[in-house]
Amino acid sequence: MFEYAPAPESASIVDIKPSYGLFIDGQFVDGSGAFKTINPATEEPLAEVALADAGDVDKAVAAARKAFKKWSKLPGKERGKYLFRIARILQERSRELAVLESIDNGKPIKESRDVDLPLVAAHFFYYAGWADKLGYAGFGPDPKPIGVAGQVIPWNFPLLMLAWKIAPALACGNTVVLKPAETTPLTALLFAEICQQADLPPGVVNIVTGAGETGSALVNHPGVDKVAFTGSTEVGRMIARSVAGTNKKVTLELGGKAANIIFEDAPIDQAVEGIVNGIFFNQGHVCCAGSRLLVQESVAEEVLDSLKRRMATLRVGDPLDKNTDIGAINSAEQLSRIRALAEIGESEADRWSPPCELPAKGFWFAPTVFTGVTQAHRIAQEEIFGPVLSVLTFRTPAEAVEKANNTPYGLSAGVWTEKGSRILKIADKLRAGVVWANTFNKFDPTSPFGGYKESGYGREGGRHGLEAYLNV
């Protein structure tokens, strides 16, 4: 392994304030309390953030309702120009946002800089263009917005999930109240500043910070017409129950336990890169992570040897170091969940990690692979949401499909083979919303994303993503 000198990205580009308010009706206002957000790589507090209670959520929904009257009547062309403007400011301030994202979330700067931020700006740019073309989107000649959208997003891709929620909502003429995750509120609050810079009319975007209670107040608010949630299947179920009997429209993007299937004729080196990207990208904090490796028995040994060699070169550490491959686990809570499941895994299967020195402070978990896993094992069924890969084997394509589909989830899957007709056949049979063939974890604003089965419903991205925000 090569020695790398530290190459830290400067944090001076971002100015973190000591405290942040809620963003309601175009202004930062006090909340009903406050909580701290910390840097997961150092455990140092970064800022104090306002906590929104039900009353604050009510104010935000009222502001969104008031703004909806004008925003929904604004010609699409003008709405689109606001979104184009936001997209441009995001591009201009992308380094600042990337650094802040890495500091608050723990993800490596090379990912926040090269994946998250470019996708965020592209997403706004893509939906900006839809705003004056909705009549051509296949949802009728004059589709209408739904109203006020209550949006709750997770901590794994804070700004990207914000973009997935806000860009299509605004393009379609809705106004939003968005709640970022309590461990990663800072880029959403910087985005609020960007809305001010872009002169977005007050109330079109409102951001309320807090934890589960704030989210619950938002989702259950009678003034919310549309609920969009990305997060765990457990919370998704609660939301589906809570909107029962109402007229609220819902889209849910939930958990996953994706199979990444390697056939014996796959290009092994490329496949190993795909496996690594599939499970170690973003510390494995990815709902569509390829967390179950299904490898054909005849090449299992070769693939695993190669995978272990590759894992030994992964650099774990300072998220702001440009060489870092795996950053910090987002929170102490998530780290303990990963540890608990890994311990269960250890009692079920064989555990392996490369030699890996972890920093003394902060939340870290070494890249880990379990072999000898069977379908009944909890690490083959439950979403770990960390850098932990479970390896299973198969003999025939039919067995691979059977095993791949044998979870309650259905978000994504991967298939690696040089045989084109096999790709198409297997892709047809996988019950998953996204299938990556000879690649993995690719995202694009034009490409619809979302799950089958208990991975949720509705699609985000592409023309399909408009439907969630139109009254169709």
């Binding site: 179920r237 009997g245 919303g433 690719k442 034009t446 399909h464």
Partner: protein, 272 residues
């Protein structure tokens, strides 16, 4: 008038392509007939039959599904008098036949209308296409016993889903007679399963069944029951179509098909 004594029909369930009695042995008296009263076990049997049929039906070519739906229309056309005798107006029968023809034509068009290539910013082939959700439980509407029933079943099976239908409790004879139409139309057994009896009794078992993927609450008149069914459906994140009272003579649009479709997006690199 002849003195001949008519042979009466026994109205039974339609499950897995067969016409069983309710395993509970129960019947109820409605429309001057004894009609099978389905139980929880019948509902579960229907799920097993539907699951067994799903792979073949979803995997059949869209062209074949269209041919079979058109065949259903032909068979229905031939039984106009029967449905008239059960109380359907001639206009309703006409509209039901026409609706089947309409959906027969959709089977091989919906993928093009709802799917397509996505121009991603990179060297990748990327395509999205709709796929059926799986098993759809349907609470049939009470209005227009034949037209309403056809209007909720046809869109579900046109796209490759399989259906378990709870017939309207007060007018089940049209549903059982429609089952006879389906059974003689080359529709594989299990693609449509029809249960008669009390929806309020049986629907909760389907709403909470973990191998049912979606539920259409169109015919649920009681808002409290509808909310309870939606809550039960949340356990495995079923796709839910909430209650409504559509004008069955109006253009149905795509909503009844698209609610029970998933979108699958496939990526592949170009040139590597």
């Amino acid at each position: 008038m002849s003195d001949r004594l008519a042979v009466l029909k026994t109205y039974k369930l339609y499950v897995g392509g067969k016409f069983p009695r309710s395993e509970s042995g129960r019947t109820y008296r409605v429309q001057d007939s004894n009609v099978a009263k389905a139980s929880r076990k019948d509902a579960r049997d229907a799920v097993v039959a539907a699951r067994a049929a799903f792979g073949g039906w979803a995997g059949a070519t869209a062209y074949l599904r269209g041919q079979i739906l058109y065949r259903v229309a032909e068979m229905l056309e031939g039984r106009r008098d029967q449905f008239a005798a059960l109380g359907s107006s001639p206009e309703d029968v006409d509209a039901a036949v026409d609706r089947l023809v309409w959906y027969a034509g959709w089977t091989d068009k919906i993928s093009q209308v709802r799917g397509g290539a996505n121009p991603v910013a990179g060297p990748y082939f990327n395509i999205s296409a709709p796929e059926p959700t799986g098993i759809v439980a349907i609470v049939a509407p009470s209005s227009s016993p034949l037209l309403g029933l056809v209007s909720v079943i046809a869109p579900v099976i046109a796209t490759g889903n399989v259906a378990i239908v709870l017939a309207d409790e007060a007018s089940p004879l049209a549903a059982v007679t429609l089952a006879e139409v389906l059974a003689t139309s080359d529709l594989p057994g299990g693609v449509v399963n029809i249960l008669t009896g009390s929806a309020a009794e049986v629907a909760p078992w389907l709403a909470s069944h973990l191998d049912v993927n979606a539920i259409d609450l169109t015919g649920v008149a009681d808002p409290a029951l509808a909310a309870d069914l939606e809550i039960a459906a949340a356990q495995n994140l079923k796709r839910v179509l909430r209650p409504s009272s559509p004008d069955w003579t109006a253009d149905p649009g795509l909503g009844r098909m698209t609610t029970f479709l998933e979108t699958k997006t496939v990526w592949h690199p170009k040139g590597t």
